[in-house]
Subunit: 212 residues, 2 copies
């Protein structure tokens, strides 16, 4: 009479070891901690073999989409201001950047595939609703949302690429004088990029929408 310490793990387990939700969450954690996704390493994290994933998911792309879902589910839906257009724009942008800021490594991968996870679609649906309530013309809502989304992603990535998006040394000061001076100026007089972008988007979107 031995404790069934059989670790052979063959055949169907009595209790499920995986689920789409667990996969999404673990993938998201992996992106945060390792800045990349590897299926063998994800399997290790979950105490499972790599081939097991393919019972729940068609491939890598789908795991990435599940990570998007996990990201959305982690950040609670913000109070959606039935407020002014300005409030709506700032609230959405803020909500996006907060989520994206946590996992910069995931962003380039999210950019290359359409949003299909239900939790994410639901979130965007609410964003659209807020735009409607604020009185935005319906045909401009999608373009506006796309603009907010890429701006939030771009800013989060810029924030990750430490130092600067342009890598130049001291000795190249003479080669790129204007760029160098501009970098120096912003170093001496730092600008909060998120606040700046929020201002730009708010003013810009309101102008574009009112012109309609």
């Amino acid at each position: 009479m031995q404790t069934p310490s059989k670790t052979s793990q063959l055949g169907r387990p009595r209790t499920p070891r995986l689920s789409r939700k667990a996969i999404g969450r673990a993938a998201l954690e992996m992106f945060e901690e390792e800045e990349s996704l590897s299926i063998p390493r994800l399997a290790e994290r979950l105490g499972v073999r790599q081939s097991s994933f393919y019972k729940h998911v068609t491939g890598r792309q789908e795991i990435i989409e599940l990570a998007r879902g996990a990201l959305v589910e982690r950040a609670p839906m913000p109070e959606l201001p039935s407020g002014s257009l300005d409030d709506v724009i700032r609230e959405i942008f803020d909500s996006l950047r907060k989520a994206y800021g946590l996992v910069p490594a995931l962003l380039p991968l999210l950019l290359t595939q359409p949003v299909s996870h239900p939790a994410a679609l639901e979130r965007y649906d609410r964003f659209v609703e807020a735009f409607e309530i604020a009185g935005a013309p319906r045909h401009l809502i999608i373009p506006a949302l796309e603009a907010l989304d890429s701006a939030a992603i771009g800013a989060s990535l810029d924030a990750m690429t430490m130092e600067s998006a342009w890598s130049i040394n001291e000795e190249e000061e003479g080669t790129y004088p204007h760029l160098f001076a501009a970098k120096k100026a912003v170093a001496e007089h730092p600008v909060d990029r998120f606040a700046f972008l929020a201002d730009v988007l708010s003013a810009g979107l309101r102008a574009a929408i009112d012109d309609d």
Copy 2:
């Protein structure tokens, strides 16, 4: 006396088969045609073995940076308007989107590493110069340029992801009613995303800059 049809290709060739410029150009072409970069396939294109690259380049990342250089060198520097801020903003945005639109597959990879190719740095240096001439405050030039860059990348990627960034079927109309309606509205009343973004950025950046 035989024609030296020896294809053994061993040892140093009499005339160089590779150069950083040729590698960058070929990589860019490969991104355009195959939407990805693989070193073995790039070697095939250039009639060379994969290990040869490592005599000219430290690795994959550097090849991507050379592709960035090739992209910049392909598009001629636009006439830089010593004009109004509005002109400068639109000219830069247009120049960026034209370049990026040709190689959407490359963009996510460019996003994740700083600009270091001299041709690219030189181009950005001129952009900064144009901002200076237009009278933008120096510490806001870099943030403004970052905003233009991410917007151009985001819009080019959105344009690639055919149909829509949000993938929903007819039968999900009820699940995401606002999103669905907004998609329908923009389908019926199409919006040129680049023109829209140009308007948003122009108005937004001018407002943010004038507020200073």
